[in-house]
């Protein structure tokens, strides 16, 4: 029994080591950065369309719609670039986590009230869709954003593990 438990502990430890490894962390960090850069660019190019998308959520007060449409893509872009380049990683990671949580809540609220909208996450000029297609897309977007939150969690966990090792050394 003891041997089995030791094996299990070793296995868990191996998985944990792999999940916090430099190899994985750098890839997750760059992938997350690329996601945010790709998401930001079309919105930076066409702020009025993105303002329209934000308006459709019906949760942002009117005077803030345009300000949000103008600034949010740039913050996404800078955070994405920071992750890709490895500069100010912790701050970028925190901002990205905050934005993802806001996106999930925003989509969730609209799903709950049955307001079928295009998320406008990667394309502020989406093709016309039926209500059902939009609802399906919104559900997918929530899962996708949760997946990205897991990526942020991996970065945070790896950073913590690295600090522990540094402190122990």
């Amino acid at each position: 029994m003891t041997l089995v438990r030791d094996d299990a502990v070793d296995e868990t430890s191996t998985i944990a080591n792999w999940l916090t490894s430099e190899w994985l962390t750098i890839r997750v960090q760059i992938a997350l950065g690329i996601f945010f850069v790709i998401a930001a660019l079309p919105k930076i190019v066409d702020p009025p369309s993105f303002a329209h998308m934000i308006y459709n959520y019906r949760i942002v007060p009117g005077p803030l719609v345009n300000i949000m449409a103008l600034t949010m893509p740039w913050v996404e872009l800078l955070c994405g670039l920071a992750l890709i380049l490895g500069i100010w990683k912790e701050a970028a990671r925190t901002l990205i986590a905050a934005m993802l949580i806001v996106f999930i809540i925003a989509i969730g609220v609209n799903l709950a009230r049955g307001n079928a909208i295009d998320c406008g996450c990667f394309d502020p000029n989406p093709k016309p869709k039926t209500r059902e297609q939009r609802i399906d897309d919104m559900t997918f977007v929530i899962y996708r954003d949760l997946g990205m939150l897991l990526m942020v969690a991996q970065l945070w966990w790896a950073e913590r593990a690295r600090r522990r090792l540094d402190d122990a050394a």
Binding site: P48, A51, G62, N66, L70, M72, L77, T94, L95, R163
Partner: protein, 236 residues
């Protein structure tokens, strides 16, 4: 972890983002520019959703909806300010007036009377066609880039999402300074369906004294499908 440094870096990223946004907006082309503070009165109003089932063909007469025997273009759908367009259309409120048997007088637009109590009245293809043929002003509330791909012949671009919309509305008011001119019918359209840009523009026009505005409920796709005159490019 150095929290102070962490927060400072985060704030720097946000401030840098805001600065980039302001500068980019300042140098952006007119159709890609936004006013910093938008005016969207219904931004927090949750829209009323259509039923989840696929919409069945309307059993009612066309949205232009006046009774078949009546030539009058009675407003079919009455719209409250900023009401969501996803709501199912309400049946036409029959007008108490007696429909004249004789053909209308020389002015084909005379039957489209002002309605100062509401920003707009939704109409269908038949009414829009009559107004268009009668020379009424037609405004396209979609984005300029979409307008250029194809629009109702003679329509002017008036995108509500572009920064110069207020300027255009003011210019229109200057063009039609006389109250009689302001009472002339104006048709607004966008992409139909749940597009509410037309209503947003109608609200703006109503706010500046235009009291005879009609919203083409089914919008450009319907106009195109029914073979209405279409033009592309930057000119009306």
């Amino acid at each position: 972890m150095n929290w102070k440094k962490h927060v400072l870096e985060g704030l720097t990223l946000v401030v840098a983002g805001v600065l980039c946004a302001v500068i980019a907006n300042a140098v952006a082309a007119r159709e890609r520019k936004l006013t910093l503070v938008g005016t969207y009165p219904n931004a927090l109003k949750a829209p009323v959703q259509a039923p989840t089932q696929a919409p069945a063909p309307e059993p009612r007469p066309a949205l232009g909806g006046a009774p078949v025997s009546s030539p009058a273009p009675a407003p079919v759908t009455q719209k409250r300010a900023g009401q969501d367009t996803g709501a199912p259309p309400k049946p036409a409120a029959p007008r108490p007036t007696v429909t004249p048997k004789t053909p209308p007088a020389a002015d084909p637009l005379a039957r489209f009377t002002p309605h100062p109590d509401k920003p707009s009245v939704e109409i269908g293809y038949a009414e829009v066609k009559a107004l268009h043929d009668g020379g009424a002003l037609v405004l396209d509330a979609r984005r300029t880039s979409i307008y250029e791909q194809g629009h109702i012949a003679g329509a002017r671009p008036f995108s509500v999402w572009e920064s110069d919309v207020d300027e255009k509305v003011t210019r229109l008011f200057d063009e039609r300074g006389d109250p009689r001119e302001q009472a002339k019918p104006i048709v607004i359209y966008c992409s139909g369906g749940d597009c509410e840009d037309s209503h947003m523009l109608a609200q703006k026009l109503w706010g500046i004294q235009f009291n005879n505005v009609y919203v083409y409920k089914d919008g450009f796709p319907d106009w195109q499908a029914r073979g209405g005159a279409v033009r592309s490019g930057t000119n009306p």
